[in-house]
Symmetry: C2
Subunit: 466 residues, 2 copies
Amino acid sequence: MPPQSNTTEQFRSKAMSVFAANQVKTDPDDLANWGTDWTRSFKVDPLAIVFPESVDQIVTLVKLAPEWGVALVPSGGRTGLSGGAVAPNQEIVVSLDRMNKILEFYETDKIVHCQAGLVTQALQDFAADQGLFYPVDFSSSGSSQIGGNIATNAGGIRVIRYGLTRRWVAGLTVVTGTGEVLRLNHGLIKNATGYDLRHLFVGSEGTLGIVVEAEMRLLPQPSEQQVMVLAIPDLHRILDVLRAFQDALELSAFEFFSELALQKVLAHRDVPRPFSKASPFYALLEYDANRIDIANETFESVLESGCVVDGVVSQSLSQASALWELREGISESIASFTPYKNDISVRIGEVPGFLEDVERIVSQHYPDLEVVWFGHIGDGNLHLNILRPADVSIDDFYQRCHTISPELFSLIQHRHGSISAEHGVGLLKRDFLNYSRSDEEIQAMRALKRVFDPHGILNPNKLLAA
Amino acid sequence: MPPQSNTTEQFRSKAMSVFAANQVKTDPDDLANWGTDWTRSFKVDPLAIVFPESVDQIVTLVKLAPEWGVALVPSGGRTGLSGGAVAPNQEIVVSLDRMNKILEFYETDKIVHCQAGLVTQALQDFAADQGLFYPVDFSSSGSSQIGGNIATNAGGIRVIRYGLTRRWVAGLTVVTGTGEVLRLNHGLIKNATGYDLRHLFVGSEGTLGIVVEAEMRLLPQPSEQQVMVLAIPDLHRILDVLRAFQDALELSAFEFFSELALQKVLAHRDVPRPFSKASPFYALLEYDANRIDIANETFESVLESGCVVDGVVSQSLSQASALWELREGISESIASFTPYKNDISVRIGEVPGFLEDVERIVSQHYPDLEVVWFGHIGDGNLHLNILRPADVSIDDFYQRCHTISPELFSLIQHRHGSISAEHGVGLLKRDFLNYSRSDEEIQAMRALKRVFDPHGILNPNKLLAA
């Protein structure tokens, strides 16, 4: 990267050759707001925020950036949890907020061609208006944007049935680090004409190109869903419950959370406790409502075998959404504790041993701290949130957690698991990447970075140290 | 590439440092057999065939190849249709035939860890033995190998429901052009730790690395399937039939073929004509047998609207497989005509206009030739086979077809379609790549080739001209 010697005023005067005055923000409040994501542990210090309104403006900016001596941080809904959209070092934040339109709807193909700044929920709503369904969903979908979903290959709560964002990207337009516009795959189902670059950009966290448009595939609306919440006496029973239900019917979701997670949600939202008696763990299942008989039968069998001790089932859409709040409210309810988030995964077959590993680490290293467990255990994905005590500074707390991480990550490495299952690497996990990727893989990733971003201007220092 | 100055004997003596004598073949018949694929239009001239039995042997060979001045052609079941596995220029063919074992089965994950030389049908059979299902299927699955399926991202007859090979690759081991072994993704569902290199190698046709092992994901067995064959009076009604059935139920397959295609199968196999009266086109549908009532209702409605004129439905598994023969026998039945294969696709919404384009080209340029139409119209994928008259030489025939191709490909380019939907690029479509990929994309592909194969020893001249 060229040295960064721009003052705000110098940048403003240069930027006027590309942007209108109302497309550039440099007020301290704006810098703080658009310069960060949902992490709260990184220094935030952007030079400016720009709000392009066309692909051409982004191309022009990217081509000028090396000359101007500025790096660019692509920015979506800023709901990331790994610092991938944080601007710590006088970067220009390139917000996609104003490129949020649906450009075209291909009805026969069930494909929406949209700009990257489209909010995930707006895509879900558009789909519903057409009698269709966009299946990727998570608690931040009211703020997150499709471009960010693609850049992180977002997962969420229905991966068990519908996979990750990658699966729904039928076409992708990116601006590379040299300002080239690649329009990839054009919504085709079958296209065997060489390397599928689309998949390289999905999950690349804005380090290879800026996602500017996408063609997202929709599905027919699923039949009505029913939600069941179960009280589970023991962490190790969760996998037995999962298997019993998976053998009996197709699950749309299988989430679990701990009693402490539930307590945090109850303290934060006006929702009732699902059972009068607390239980160490809970599971939330979703499935086609017309399978209710089989679901009930399966419930009876897991109750009998002692894998669950109680259960409740939704009788209406509003009850279903109230039950979902118990799970979806967790992240928000613990945000004020600046949690240290572990987002880890292994193959499903490794889950039992992996849970033992994690329990040991927690009891050895965090006996004095609150640990909130939840996650998508049907995908092998566990969210382990260590809460910061009010009297410990963020720096000290993260320092302590970072010191413990290598021990946990070694165990994950031993099981060929992932140190970042769905949150991405960003700044938070960058220095631990070697626990999930080999030296040869990391060298290859660096070489690919040089191909698409030879000047090192795209989200530098994220994912790979510059 | 280094100059190629090896004699057979020189190579044999070098190869003995890596391989046992029975792992190297240089007899003319063997060279002819393993040096080609199902195309019959390319010069075949390999220096030798080697049969490695371990990843280590492949690594050693790849590392020595630049020094030895030889290029390598990775070779699976040799059922390819674009010359991707042809060795025209004194290459060493690296056959995976002897690396055909299942290494491990992860039951909880429903994942098979296998060597790349495992025959597709052997994976299907293994899955069935476990009460599971490997959904990728095509007429060559009795010969094709998993490694080749991955290298070409094979599609086939059930893409409409289950997608392409890519979707089932949970982990992948490749040997790059520098002899590095990359073990990618390890069967994880969620793994957001940087660029997903796995997807770059899927569909790369052996030009970036040699696929040596894979972790393939299986599915629960689907319920019993029923097959329906319909007689359709007019090409343009096919899409209406597809829509009617897709709106009513989930299709596992929707294939179409022309009367001439049927005639070729009937001449080649001992199967009966499905209807007493010939029809210009036919469609074959497959769906869950328990949906028979809805399927019958839909049949009545398309019969009434004139979209179909007759129909037959399978009453047993053997009847279902007899009906499938009508479609799956086509490729084999026309092989002796050395057909010029067009494997083209567009977005589904573009299919009607695209069919008009193709009809015009056929009537203008091939009025004197037999044209066999079939394909996976539910994926937007059409196979247009021009049959070679017995009195025209292969060279002259291909020359003529190649001269006409640009006009067809221009129309496909205009619709942002693919000039190779599922057969890959290989040698056959290499010089037409620009009709489906932009100059910028092709430049990026070349740069990626240099990253993973800096010596240019992996399948040179395939996909991209060296």
